[in-house]
C-alpha cells in the first residue's frame, strides 16, 4: 500500500491493512498406539510370533554386544537401538524381500536383523572378523548386505539420505517395482542433505519413504533444543509430499503406517513418516545420559514395544507361556552361538587391507 493510501485509510479511521492473508489447510495422518490389531492388519498368529521373535532377537543381540564391548571384543563406537525395535521390524514387514531396499544411519543393528541378516554375520562384523557382513571393514556403524537389500549402515549424519534417493531413482529408472525406505534420526533432519533429497524425490516422483526415527535426542540434544518446529513430520509440506506421525512403541501402528506409505511409494509418491520412539541406552557406549531424568527414562520403559507386544500376545491368547519361554530360549541360544561364531572367525589377514578399495584387481597402490 502506498504511503498516500495508508494516510487515507488512517484518516478514515479504518484499520491499516498492508497485506493479504493466505490461509492454507494442511492435513497429516496420525497412527496412534493401541489403534490396530493383528486382525485389523490381517496378520496370522505365526506372523505376530515372528514379529515378536525378531524384536526380541534385536534386543538380546544388542544386550550381548554391550557385554562384549565391555570385554573389549568390540572396538570403536557402538550405538544401541534398544527401545526402537518396533520401527525396524514393523516397517520391514511392509517390504518385499529380494526387491525392495533399505538404508539407515549408524544405529543399524536392528534394521540389519529385521532384514534377515544373520546374528552370526552381524556379531562377526562387530568383532571385526572376516565372516562379518562387511568382512570386518565396516564395524558397528557400517553393516551392509546386498543380498538382503541392506544398503548400509552410514556414519556421517545425513549423508545417506541423498544416497537413498538415488537407490529409489534406480528402482524407478529400471521400472522394477521396488521401493526404498530411508531411516534417519531426528538430528539428521537439520542436515541440508535431508532437504535437498526430499525435494529431489518429490520432483522426480521417486518410490521412497523417508522415516524419521524421532527418539527425542541427537546425542545429548533434545529435539526442542535443535528443532524450531518440533513436529518433524511437517517438513513434508515444503516438499509437497504426504506426511504422517506414528507411535513407534506400538509395532502394529508402525506396520499399518508403513504399509500405507510403502504402497504410496510403489505408486510413485514419495512421503515422510515421523515415528516417535525412545532409546533406552545412551547415544553410544560412552554416554551416561545425564541430559535426561531417571523419571523420564522409567516412564518410557513402561511403553517398551517388546513388553507391549508380549502382553498383547498373552492377553489375546495368541501364544502360551510355555511357547514364549521356548522362543526366549531360542533367541538367547542364537545370540550366544553368534558370539562363539564371531570369536572363532579369523581376523582379516594384513593383505586384506588392499581388498575392496577398487573393483580394479591390479590397482597400483603407492607403497
Amino acid at each position: 500500500m502506498s504511503l498516500k493510501a495508508k494516510e487515507v485509510a488512517t484518516q478514515n479511521g479504518q484499520p491499516e491493512a498492508s497485506y493479504d492473508v493466505i490461509e492454507t489447510k494442511l492435513t497429516f495422518r496420525q497412527y496412534p498406539g493401541d489403534r490396530f490389531s493383528h486382525e485389523s492388519l490381517g496378520l496370522s498368529v505365526e506372523d505376530v510370533a515372528d514379529i515378536y521373535r525378531n524384536m526380541l532377537l534385536q534386543r538380546r543381540f544388542e544386550e550381548r554386544s554391550a557385554q562384549m564391548y565391555g570385554r573389549q571384543k568390540i572396538g570403536g563406537f557402538l550405538h544401541l537401538y534398544i527401545g526402537q525395535e518396533a520401527i525396524s521390524t514393523g516397517s520391514v514387514y511392509a517390504l518385499k524381500s529380494g526387491l525392495d531396499s533399505a538404508i539407515t544411519a549408524y544405529r543399524d543393528h536392528g534394521l540389519a536383523l529385521a532384514l534377515g541378516m544373520t546374528s552370526n554375520e552381524c556379531m562377526a562384523e562387530l568383532f571385526g572378523r572376516v565372516d562379518g557382513c562387511s568382512k570386518g571393514k565396516g564395524g558397528s556403524m557400517h553393516f551392509f548386505s546386498k543380498e538382503k537389500g541392506m544398503f548400509g549402515g552410514h556414519g556421517i549424519v545425513g549423508a545417506h539420505i541423498p544416497v537413498a534417493t538415488g537407490i529409489a531413482f534406480a528402482h524407478m529408472y529400471k521400472n522394477d517395482g521396488g521401493v526404498c525406505i530411508c531411516y534417519l534420526g531426528d538430528g539428521a533432519v537439520w542436515q541440508g542433505s535431508f532437504h535437498e533429497a526430499l525435494n529431489l524425490a518429490s520432483l522426480y516422483k521417486l518410490p521412497i519413504v523417508y522415516v524419521i526415527e524421532n527418539n527425542q535426542y541427537a546425542m545429548g540434544t533434545a529435539v526442542d533444543r535443535a528443532s524450531a518446529e518440533t513436529d518433524l513430520f511437517k517438513q513434508c509440506v515444503s516438499y509437497a509430499m504426504p506426511g504422517s506421525l506414528v507411535d513407534g512403541m506400538d509395532v502394529f501402528s508402525v506396520c499399518q503406517a508403513m504399509r500405507d506409505h510403502v504402497d504410496m511409494a510403489r505408486e510413485g509418491q514419495p512421503s515422510l513418516v515421523e515415528i516417535r520412539t525412545y532409546r533406552y541406552r545412551g547415544h553410544s557406549m560412552s554416554d551416561p545420559g545425564k541430559y535426561r531424568t531417571k523419571e523420564e527414562l522409567e516412564a518410557k520403559k513402561n511403553e517398551d514395544p517388546i513388553l507391549r507386544l508380549k502382553s498383547y500376545l498373552i492377553q489375546e491368547n495368541l501364544i502360551s507361556n510355555e511357547d514364549l519361554d521356548v522362543l526366549d530360549m531360542e533367541v538367547k541360544a542364537e545370540v550366544a552361538a553368534s558370539v562363539t561364531f564371531a570369536d572363532e572367525s579369523p581376523f582379516p589377514p594384513p593383505e586384506a587391507i588392499y581388498d575392496h578399495v577398487y573393483t580394479q584387481e591390479d590397482y597400483p597402490f603407492l607403497t
Binding site: S101, I103, G132, C133, S134, K135, G136, K137, G138, H142, F144, S145, K146, F151, G152, G153, H154, I156, A159, H160, I161, P162, V163, A164, T165, G166, I167, A168, F169, A170, H171, Y173, K174, G192, S193, E196, A197, N199, L200, L203, Y204, D355, H356, V357, Y358, T359, Q360, Y363, P364, F365
Partner: protein, 327 residues
C-alpha cells in the same frame, strides 16, 4: 580422424556410451533443457529424452548423492558439476561415500559413476571460481582422477571412465572446451586409465603437465628447441592412479625434471611427483626437481594479478634452463 572441439569430444563419448548402455544417464544443473552451461550436453536431451538427461535443482550434495545411490542399485550415472568449485558442497558425498562405501561394505557395493565438469583457472572470476581440485580428490583411495588436455584424450578417456566400475573424477576446463583437435574415429575408441602420454620425446629435460599446464609445457619445449635442446613432454592424463613408470623412465633418461601444475603449491600433484622422483630416481638426478605452480594465494580478480598468479610458459622455460644450468 575428425576435428572436434573438446566439448564435442566429451559429448561424443557420452552419446556413444549412452547409445551402447541403457543404464547410463546424465544428470546435472542445466544439462537438459538449457543444453549445458558450457554446451557440452547440447542436443542430448532431444536424443535421449527426459528419462536419461535430467536437470536438477541447485543441490550438488543432493544429486551427487543421488548418483551414488543409483550406482549402488545398478545404474551408471554421469553427474555433471557446472564447475568443480560448486562440488565443494557435495564433497562429503564424493569423499565419504563414493570413495569409501565399497571398502566399508567389504566389496559388496561398487560405484560405476563419473563426476565430471570444468576444473581450475577460468579467468577473472576471483577466488571462489578458480580452484584446482586434482590434488584434493587424488588424496582419497577409492577414487580415480583424470584430467584431460585435448579432444582425443577427452573422448578416449571419458569412454573408459564411463565403463570403469570405480568412481571417476573427470576434470575438464572452461578455457579448453572450444579447443579443436584431431580425434580418432576408430570404432569404440578408448584410452586406458592410468597411462601417461609422451607428447614429445627428448633427452634434455622432462617436463610434466596436465590439462592447461600441458600446453605451457609444450610451449616451453618449443622455446627450448629454438635454443637447441630437446625436451621430453609428458601429459600424465590420469592423476590417480599415476603412471610412475613412464615418468621415472623419462627422468632416468633426461636426468632433470620440471613439473607444471596450475594448482596451489602445497601438497599438490607436483609435490607427489617430486617426492616419487627423488625416491625412485635419486641417483639419476643432475638437479633438484623444479616446479611451476599457481601462487600460494587464492586466485585474484585483477587481470594483471591473475596473470601473475598462474604458471606462464616463460616461467616453465626459465625453470627448464635452470635445471639444465644454462643461465
Amino acid at each position: 580422424m575428425a576435428e572436434l572441439q573438446i566439448r564435442e569430444a566429451i559429448r561424443a563419448a557420452m552419446v556413444e556410451e549412452m547409445d551402447r548402455d541403457e543404464n547410463i544417464f546424465l544428470m546435472g544443473e542445466e544439462v537438459a533443457e538449457y543444453n549445458g552451461a558450457y554446451k557440452v550436453s547440447e542436443g542430448m536431451r532431444d536424443r535421449f529424452g527426459d528419462r536419461r538427461v535430467l536437470d536438477t535443482p541447485i543441490s550438488e550434495n543432493g544429486f551427487a548423492g543421488l548418483g551414488l545411490g543409483a550406482a549402488m542399485n545398478g545404474l551408471r550415472p554421469i553427474i555433471e558439476f557446472m564447475t568443480w568449485n560448486f562440488a565443494f558442497v557435495a564433497i562429503d558425498q564424493i569423499i565419504n561415500n563414493a570413495a569409501k562405501i565399497r571398502y566399508m561394505s567389504g566389496g559388496q557395493f561398487s560405484f560405476p559413476i563419473v563426476f565430471r565438469g570444468p576444473n581450475g583457472a577460468a579467468g577473472q572470476l576471483a577466488a571462489t571460481h578458480n580452484t584446482s581440485v586434482e590434488a584434493l580428490y587424488s588424496c582419497f583411495p577409492g577414487l580415480k582422477v583424470i584430467s584431460v588436455s585435448n579432444p582425443d584424450d577427452a573422448k578416449g578417456l571419458l569412454k573408459s571412465a564411463i565403463r570403469d566400475d570405480d568412481p571417476v573424477v573427470f576434470l575438464e576446463s572452461e578455457f579448453m572446451y572450444g579447443m579443436r583437435g584431431e580425434v580418432s574415429e576408430a570404432e569404440d575408441y578408448t584410452i586406458p586409465i592410468g597411462e601417461a602420454r609422451i607428447a614429445r620425446e627428448g633427452d634434455a629435460v622432462t617436463i610434466i603437465g596436465h590439462n592447461k599446464s600441458y600446453w605451457r609445457a609444450l610451449e616451453a619445449a618449443e622455446m627450448l628447441e629454438a635454443d637447441g635442446y630437446a625436451a621430453e613432454v609428458i601429459d600424465p592424463r590420469t592423476i590417480r592412479p599415476f603412471d610412475w613408470d613412464t615418468v621415472i623412465a623419462s627422468v632416468k633418461k633426461t636426468n632433470r625434471c620440471v613439473v607444471v601444475d596450475e594448482s596451489n603449491p602445497f601438497a599438490s600433484v607436483s609435490s607427489e611427483i617430486a617426492f616419487q622422483i627423488q625416491a625412485q630416481a635419486f641417483d639419476y638426478l643432475d638437479a633438484p626437481v623444479h616446479r611451476i605452480t599457481a601462487r600460494d594465494t587464492p586466485a585474484p580478480y585483477a587481470k594483471n594479478l591473475m596473470e601473475y598468479y598462474l604458471p606462464s610458459t616463460e616461467d616453465v622455460y626459465r625453470a627448464c634452463r635452470a635445471v639444465m644450468y644454462l643461465d
